[in-house]
């Protein structure tokens, strides 16, 4: 039994009603650097208990990081008070019954062993690898113990690890980017990350501009992953579907993308950041979202499934109870790769167009149409005659994501795990497994800043 489960059981002992305790403890370090100096190194240790108390169908929730006896007693009193003063929730399906959980890879001992000294050293290695290019970014690693215990008998526990290195090699008029993430520190090559960022930066001086218009384009996995995640938050969750705010509303079963496109949410994929259960201890399931270009479904939790009128079976995507108004959301997206062996092959498939390394500050313009805007950053190039050519300034784009995925000449065979977390709040590492993609549609709607600091 991990320490989180011990705290969860201790919390339950203070409640006289039906109840569920979710505990997440975090131990992490993030060595942030700018101008090749580490400037904001941050060590975090916390443990947060979310207690859900149920009384006659009325649900009360309270959260605390005071895990001693007095803290848990007060937590139980606040959650119980909330339950007593809340009307019954018709969509609440009751607390889940215990279910067999899938087996996923355990925590990585190498990542668990990283302390502040190693974290700072790995950041220094990444910085050194950029050579004479000033480095900006971070190295972070962390472990989280997660546990769910309930009066219905659920006992779920998992310890996860994650590590990410991110390097921006940048100065006046040049900028390159690279990042790596994994559940296992041995998968990361922080020096290679620095070298990749510096090599990209070296090609971005004297950036030109292009006229707004529709271009063919290559998107590296960094760019595609972020675009997919933004689209997914509005379109691949059950609540958006039920409320007809999502692109998928009325489109399930219809072709929405190129037949080469298949997207799933799969927290069980060993190449991702595996999780065995959701925030109420229900087993994680792989969910096909798009198969061979056909919209297949969205992710569900038991509450949204109840609201939809069927049985209350979800897909293992219950959000944290305090965020339940967002509904279930996909946090383990995975897009199937294609046949291309390299990024060069994608450029050949594009012929004439734009090459995009990374995106910046995405915003959903029209959720129902899947329209997203943002800018490119840290490595935008022209593609001419099937080859990556001169650097470009950062470009504003406004695209319908399904339209971008509608005519896809090629995808790379390899997929890359791209970190999706900015580490706000309690640590919840997630990422997208994405290939690089060639598309016939990338709508440039403006020209922004030049590369660099």
């Amino acid at each position: 039994m991990n320490a989180a489960l011990e705290i969860a059981e201790a919390a339950l002992a203070h409640v006289g009603d039906e109840a569920e305790a979710h505990v997440q403890s975090e131990r992490s370090g993030l060595a942030r650097f700018a101008g090749s100096r580490q400037h904001q190194p941050t060590l975090i240790e916390d443990a947060v208990v979310t207690l859900r108390v149920v009384r006659d169908g009325r649900v009360g929730v309270a959260v605390s990081n005071r895990t001693g006896d007095a803290g848990l007693r007060e937590l139980a009193a606040r959650a119980t008070d909330a339950a007593e003063n809340t009307p019954a929730d018709p969509d609440f399906p009751g607390l889940p019954e215990p279910a067999a959980l899938p087996i996923v890879a355990g925590p990585d001992s190498g990542t668990l062993a990283l302390g502040p000294g190693e974290q700072a050293e790995l950041a220094a290695d990444a910085i050194a690898a950029t050579g004479h290019y000033p480095a900006y970014g971070f190295f972070t690693s962390g472990s989280t113990e997660i546990a769910v215990a309930s009066t219905t008998g659920v006992r779920a526990e998992q310890t996860t690890t994650d590590a990410t290195v991110l390097v921006l090699a940048s100065g006046d008029g040049f900028s390159g980017y690279a990042t790596q993430t994994s559940a296992r520190i041995a998968d990361l090559d922080v020096r290679a990350c620095g070298v990749e960022a510096a090599a990209k930066a070296a090609r971005t001086r004297d950036a030109a501009t292009v006229e707004p218009g529709v271009y063919r384009a290559v998107l590296e996995p960094y760019a595609l992953a972020e675009l997919l995640q933004y689209f997914a938050w509005d379109s691949f969750g059950a609540v958006g579907l039920l409320e007809e705010r999502s692109y998928l509303a009325g489109r399930i079963g219809e072709p929405i993308c190129d037949a080469r496109i298949s997207i799933a949410d799969d927290a069980l994929d060993a190449d991702g950041l595996p999780r065995a259960f959701d925030f109420e201890g229900a087993p994680k399931e792989r969910v096909a979202l798009v198969e061979d270009g056909i919209a297949r479904g969205v992710v569900w939790d038991r509450r949204s499934a109840t609201r939809a009128g069927g049985d209350s079976r979800g897909t293992g995507h219950a959000p944290p109870v305090v965020l339940q108004s967002y509904g279930p959301l996909p946090f383990a997206l995975s897009m199937r790769g294609g046949d291309a062996g390299s990024l060069d092959e994608l450029a050949e498939a594009v012929g004439d167009g734009i090459y995009v390394t990374r995106l910046h500050y995405l915003g959903v313009v029209h959720p129902r149409e899947g329209v997203v805007t943002g800018t490119t950053r840290d490595g935008t190039f022209r593609i001419r005659d099937g080859r990556v050519a001169e650097p470009l300034a950062n470009l504003r784009f406004t695209v319908s994501v399904p339209r971008l995925l509608k005519d896809v000449p090629a995808l790379t065979r390899d997929v890359k795990l791209v970190n999706g977390s900015d580490f706000y709040g309690d640590r919840f590492a997630f990422g997208v497994l994405a290939p690089a993609i060639a598309t016939a549609y990338f709508n440039v709607t403006g020209v922004g800043s030049s590369p660099g600091i």
Binding site: D46, Q119, T445
Partner: protein
């Protein structure tokens, strides 16, 4: 907590820190949300701990501990010093001198929001939401929030400061659905309503029930409205969207940590350079921007920032010229450092950033437009890493023809380049139309931190703006 912070600072000094500060924070946040007549979310979150920041041999380190005990304070100090040492790499970091203060500060509150029973908050939301109901409105939502943060800061310079900040807020959203469209209208602000440093009296003053029928009616009407057509035209922008315009295109680029590159890998940098202050033309002579951490009810209001600097208004833009920065002791421009709770390092953050009022009324601004758009309430936003190229969308717009509002338009967007856009400013409405609203989702830093800030603005008019950006 004061003693505990003092112990942490002493422990950090003993571990080799040339400078140290310790912040103990107790935070409680309560949220109630209803949707379509049902409670959709109810949470009551408490968090406490101590964060210790140190300078060792010219390198920063930060560590935190949730235990508000002597052991927690000592451990956080020791780990912060160890991380700083490991992160070192030579060099120095100078901090601007500060006169250490011993003081207290607290938000002025008439009704303690945590004294209002949960049942009353739920009932308040349900009543507000009822006015949103109509056939076209698929989703009617109301929400209220309250936050209390008690924090103590002790620095090795001798500052000892205790503050208690209280926030309240609320809002309503109506999402109308039909004919393949989904259109949202919000009040008093999008993306979580509006909040203020105040008690429950602020929520009661918002008039959510009163405004709900209008909000629902507009959401429904948008389903029948034509899409905003592309073009270059004059626009009048309402106070709320102007607040976002100020936040994104003036607030962030004038944060000195961005100017100096600290945020390059995440939030981005700035088109501004340190030498620009005093000479760079940011906008037209009608543009005046002030950072003011003393604004009553502002979410960026405090007695002292998280480096112990007393709150003081700062001019940022005067008559269109950049004259000041939002900064920190290390950046040589102290007064705007804040951390998100006890587990994050203080960063340069906006306080309350205002577009100072001009003259006249919204109606007079509209009368000055022959062919244009009036834009209201933010819907989407995006801006590039140097804060130059932006594209914003609003929930609703109306055509302006010959100085009068015309038909409703949906899915309006406008785009521009920051200094050129502000250069096209030719009117700001007066104080009677100036509104202060608070947002709680300003993201920055790695690991990420959310800041709460307020902006005041009146409606403003811009000439020759690109509107109607389509996919």
């Amino acid at each position: 907590m004061r003693e505990l912070c003092g112990e942490a600072v002493e422990a950090a000094r003993a571990a080799g820190a040339s400078y140290a500060d310790a912040r103990a924070v107790l935070r409680r946040q309560q949220t109630v949300a209803t949707k379509n007549g049902r409670v959709d979310a109810l949470s009551d979150v408490e968090s406490e701990g101590i964060g210790v920041r140190v300078l060792v041999d010219g390198a920063w380190g930060f560590a935190c501990d949730r235990r508000l005990t002597a052991d927690g304070a000592h451990d956080a100090a020791a780990r912060a010093a160890a991380f700083a040492r490991a992160s070192g790499g030579g060099g120095t970091r100078e901090l601007a001198p500060v006169e250490p203060r011993r003081a207290t500060y607290e938000t002025s509150v008439e009704i303690d929001p945590f004294s209002v029973p949960i049942a009353e908050k739920i009932d308040f939301c349900l009543r507000a939401e009822e006015g949103l109901r109509r056939a076209e409105v698929k989703v009617a939502e109301a929400f209220v929030r309250a936050l209390r943060e008690q924090k103590v800061l002790v620095t090795s310079d001798g500052a000892e400061l205790e503050q208690e900040l209280v926030e309240c807020g609320g809002g309503i959203d109506a999402t109308a659905v039909g004919d393949g469209l989904a259109q949202i209208r919000s009040y008093p602000s999008a993306h979580g309503g509006s909040s203020a440093q105040a008690g429950w009296e602020y929520v009661l003053s918002l008039g959510l029930e009163r405004e709900a029928p209008r909000v629902a009616e507009q959401a429904a009407a948008l389903l029948q409205a034509p899409e905003c057509a592309p073009g270059v035209m004059d626009v009048v922008i309402d106070a709320e969207q102007m607040q976002l315009q100020v936040h994104e295109s003036v607030g962030h680029p004038t944060e000195l940590d961005r100017v100096l590159g600290s945020e390059a890998a995440y939030a981005g940098t700035s088109f501004l350079k340190p030498v620009d202050v005093g000479s760079l033309r940011y906008g037209s002579p009608l543009m005046n921007i002030t950072a003011d951490p003393t604004t009553p009810r502002g979410l960026g209001t405090f007695g002292f920032d998280d480096e112990g600097i007393p709150a003081e208004p700062q001019p940022i833009v005067r008559e269109g010229v950049l004259v000041g920065w939002i900064g920190s002791r290390e950046a040589g421009f102290p007064g705007s450092m804040r951390a998100d709770g006890w587990s994050r390092m203080p960063l340069v953050r906006m306080t309350n950033l205002h577009l100072d009022p001009g003259e006249g009324t919204l109606e007079e601004l509209i009368e000055g437009v022959d062919d244009g758009l009036y834009l209201e309430t933010n819907k989407s936003w995006s801006i590039d890493d140097k804060r130059l190229n932006f594209q914003f969308g609003t929930q609703v717009a109306w055509e302006i023809r010959d100085g009068k509002l015309g038909k409703l338009v949906r899915d309006a967007t406008y785009t521009g380049i920051t200094p050129q856009f502000w250069g096209s400013l030719d009117a700001v409405a007066g104080l009677d139309a100036w509104r202060l609203q608070g947002l709680t989702n300003c993201g920055k830093g790695q690991p990420g931190q959310s800041a709460h800030v307020s902006h005041g603005a009146a409606p403003a008019r811009f000439r020759g703006v690109q509107v109607g950006v389509h996919a």
